[in-house]
Symmetry: C2
Subunit: 218 residues, 2 copies
DNA sequence: TAGATTGTTAATCGATTAACAATC
DNA sequence: TAGATTGTTAATCGATTAACAATC
């Protein structure tokens, strides 16, 4: 199947989407080291993937290499950047200005990539009115009105679990297409809404599971 | 294949390990709501999995249900807790006391589950000596000596990318079996070391990819 | 007992990999 | 040209699902 035909059926498999940012990161590293060219075998070696998988992943989007040569690092980097949508900016709102929310708002790398936190909301009256990183913290009751006036691509939920579904509903009702969820809750959203969960505790539990795994063996 | 036999071959598939914490979280919610019993069909409905997948996942570890009845919520919760290793505590060190590191150290839920940050390290002389949450922040040069004197289960890396491999090497050299990595780097570790990556930027890029996905379709 | 739901098997589906013709 | 490596096909592998006998 050619890449053109492949694109027609459903979406891109999630495994592919998971690996693209990994490729991007490593290619950026190579470029910063002044490496100009790389083969799928070399990429695979460095990232613990097979060469075939890397070529297969890239072929969903086009032909970026050259037989007998491999890939031009700068060129491939440019293609993957575009594929991931890095050729534009994204407007974000952050809900929840606790320790984690503040850490996210302070993280410069997001803005550098074009992901801009444009407003911060919290319930805590003590926090409201304070400047943090980019913005004044606003009362959460104003989230709905803000979203009506300001088109927003990504809503970041960094609230305690018991309010996150309510916040999510407000975001969805105002057509925010993407949710970045840091609360320990399985959010209910319509099919068309895109959600990425950062479940920190789940990740820790995967560590403790693997650490104790031998116990479950015979 | 019986669960007993299944356990003999390699490890548990990573998909199963990913879903166990999700089951745990939802079962906890049910228990807190006073729900005493649940079927695989109900679990699947709530979490968008098939009932068969849930039964298949659980069967890796034993038989926890009853035909015609389903699962006792408390009992299943107890089993999954043990499977995930929640019947003990874990000693952790945190390296990197920036915004994100501080947020992690302040997060009470980890400690409640038995994941205890026992020491914090940073390069920044201004931070060193300050108390944060549980512990005094120590100079990173003392990490090696600390690990030699204090058995540690999990090393948390919340440093800038350019030093994270060095920190990782110190952790590995001192037999820390698990790494929880928040830095935007693909760490090189021996096969037996267990690594969980929280790559925040990768997660954002998956959002922007999905948001722009239709552009790549015909 | 009749109804419900498990745990497991066998069938299906999808993802990964090996192989290779094409070609730089 | 000879050597290297792509993009793609076909084969393999593993994960998911549907179906059902067992049984509470």
């Amino acid at each position: 199947m050619s890449s053109r035909e492949r694109r027609k059926d459903g979406g891109i498999p999630s495994g592919v989407v998971t690996r693209l940012p990994i490729y991007l990161r490593y290619l950026t590293e190579l470029r910063d080291q002044g490496v100009g060219r790389v083969s799928s075998a070399q990429l695979g070696e460095a990232l613990s993937f097979t060469a075939a998988q890397i070529r297969s992943d890239l072929s969903y989007f086009g032909s970026f290499g050259q037989q007998g040569y491999g890939y031009d690092v700068d060129e491939l980097l440019m293609h993957i950047s575009r594929i991931l949508g890095l050729n534009r900016t994204y407007a974000m709102v952050l809900v929840g200005a606790g320790n984690l929310g503040k850490a996210l708002a302070s993280y410069e790398n997001f803005r550098k990539r074009g992901f801009e936190i444009r407003a911060i909301f919290d319930v805590d009256e003590i926090l409201v009115g304070n400047y943090h990183a980019c913005c004044v913290i606003q009362p959460v009751e104003e989230l709905d009105q803000y979203l009506k006036e300001n088109p927003t691509d990504i809503g970041i939920i960094a609230t305690p679990g018991h309010v996150s579904q309510d916040i999510c509903d407000v975001l969805v009702a105002n057509n925010v297409p993407c949710i970045w969820n840091f609360s320990p809750v399985h959010l209910q959203v319509p099919d068309e809404v895109i959600v990425e969960h950062i479940h920190l505790t789940d990740s820790l539990l995967r560590l403790s599971f693997r650490l104790n795994e031998q116990r479950h063996r015979d």
